[in-house]
Amino acid sequence: MTTSVYPHTGLRGISAKTQGKRADASLHVASIAEAHNRQGRPQVRFEAVSKQYAGQLSDAFALQDISLEIHQGEIFGVIGRSGAGKSTLIRAINRLETISQGKLEVLGQDVAALDRPQLVALRRRIGMIFQHFNLLSAKTVAQNIGLPLLVAGKPQREIDDKVTALLALVGLSDKRDAYPAQLSGGQKQRVGIARALVHNPDLLLCDEATSALDPETTQSILALLRDINRRLGLTIVLITHELDVVREICDRVAVLDKGQIVEQGEVWKVLGDPHHPVTVSLLNPALQTLPANLGTRLLSVAPQGEYRTVISLRYTGSQSGQLDLNQLHSLVGSGAQLLHGNVENVQGYLYGRLLITVPGAWSPAQTPAAPQNADNSSQVPEIIGYVQSPV
């Protein structure tokens, strides 16, 4: 069907590149103009949405009382363990799954009320990429990317131009006539992204888009998604079980467990100061676990003789991006030793946990330093146990 206009010469790459740039620029302008019209209204709004499957013993809830709003231009993450209902949640948005109760509005439309042509029209405004890419093995890269336009009845010339522009955008201009089987995982996902963008969508759904990729490729795909989000103003909803993905590119996150949202908010807040045990367990283990050599020696009450108190110091939301050591010193007092530490920087906010030991008994009241700092960061010291000296 689609054959390259250019034979296999050096010329092909060059002209594809220039064409790509031109088409890309027009894409950008269009999306800014559109973004103006869309301001203020959430792109996706779940209102007390539930989904249940009729079971033999009891009705199992895949989603239960989900309420959330996703706004224009943001990257919204949904994280949870497998089986938490993430997949059902993201599929409800383009009605690959129907909902049982509640109201779901996507791009201003009540999803449940759409008839078939309306649903097709809505789906053409929503791109979707998948964990296993879901590319058609019998079609070339160009045919895969162009398929949504082909079935929408667009002329072949328009399809070819659009495919050329998108191939340049995802950096695969030289793979136009390759088949998916000849591509690496990362390249396949790039094709998937190009295909998802072919209708200039308002919304991009990412279903575990990086879960089948190695860490390095994951980074490059996330960077590409971030780039698309910024350049095209595209709203992205992604589901993942990997905290790193959320940390890397999401603006806001919802934590899903057993079909319910247990926590949601800005990423630095949720990750830095998790309230729900599920969130805590999803967090970087370094923030949760004790060093192996400490665990067995940790006592819950102060022992006789010489001992040290182990303090866990969690800090969240220092926007300066720095941890003031002087302040820390005045908080824990003299003789303090650092045992274990972890510092993360998310969206410019610092959060992490330090394990510190101090000689003898210790209580927060013994130091004059206020736990609440000037720049609104909070440091929460907590005694987690005692060890016989020396550590």
């Binding site: 383009n94 690959l96 078939r116 097709v120 029209a121 789906r123 053409r124 929503i126 791109g127 979707m128 998948f130 296993h132 879901n134 590319l135 058609l136 093995s137 019998a138 079609k139 398929l147 949504p148 082909l150 079935v151 929408a152 088949y179 089987a181 000849q182 295909r195 998802a196 072919v198 209708h199 759904l205």
Partner: protein
């Protein structure tokens, strides 16, 4: 081999070839839509229709359960109606086609059903209608399996066509029975078997090559 005998062989060979190829072509064009319909209307298909699925399924299995020799007799009235005669090569093509179509349809159905559901989901997500999914996803993705199914069906047709001699359609099978069984000329029977063997292995090899060609980029 004397000349008249050679002509008998040639005639029988051409009769068999005609019966098999015409039946195969018709079976392809009826069986494939039937297979698509079965997959699409099945409970987990893209347009579930339990009643239609059950009706189609019952017909397909009913035909497959009927022994071919019975079918030859059973469809004599139909053959008369369509062809105008119940004997000869054209008359044999009707029951041969009816016999092989459900068989081919079931094999194709398996290949179509095996198409990764993620691909169908992706097609739906990009705004494909049911026909688009059949045209751009199900058929192209299942094509190698369908081609393999066609190969098996053709081989089976060589087999069943041997019985078409009962309708005076001639063919290699008929030759083998008349000379080999009824005239105790075992040599001719073995020649026929050898020719059939070559035809079958030839078809199978060609089919395999074709499937391999279809899969070259996957």
């Amino acid at each position: 081999m004397s000349n008249p005998l050679f002509e008998k062989f040639l005639q029988a060979f051409l009769q068999t070839l005609t019966m098999v190829s015409v039946s195969a072509v018709i079976a392809f064009f009826i069986g494939l839509p039937l297979a698509v319909l079965l997959v699409v209307t099945s409970p987990r298909g893209i347009e579930p229709s339990p009643r239609l699925y059950r009706v189609l399924s019952t017909i397909v299995d009913g035909v497959r359960a009927t022994p071919f020799i019975i079918m030859l007799i059973l469809f004599i009235p139909v053959t008369r109606l369509v062809i105008g005669s119940a004997i000869g090569v054209p008359a044999a093509i009707i029951p041969l086609t009816i016999g092989i179509t459900p068989y081919f349809a079931r094999i194709s159905e398996i290949s179509l059903r095996d198409v990764n559901s993620g691909l169908i989901e992706a097609a739906q997500a990009m705004g494909c209608g049911r026909w688009h999914i059949v045209r751009h996803v199900l058929l192209p993705e299942a094509l190698p399996g369908i081609a393999a199914g066609m190969t098996i069906s053709i081989v089976a047709l060589f087999n069943t066509s041997a019985m078409a001699g009962a309708l005076g359609a001639g063919g290699l099978g008929d030759l083998a029975i008349r000379y080999g069984y009824q005239r105790y000329d075992t040599a001719i029977m073995l020649y026929v078997v050898a020719i059939l063997f070559l035809l079958v292995t030839g078809s199978q090899t060609f089919g395999d090559r074709f499937v391999h060609y279809l899969r070259r980029n996957r």
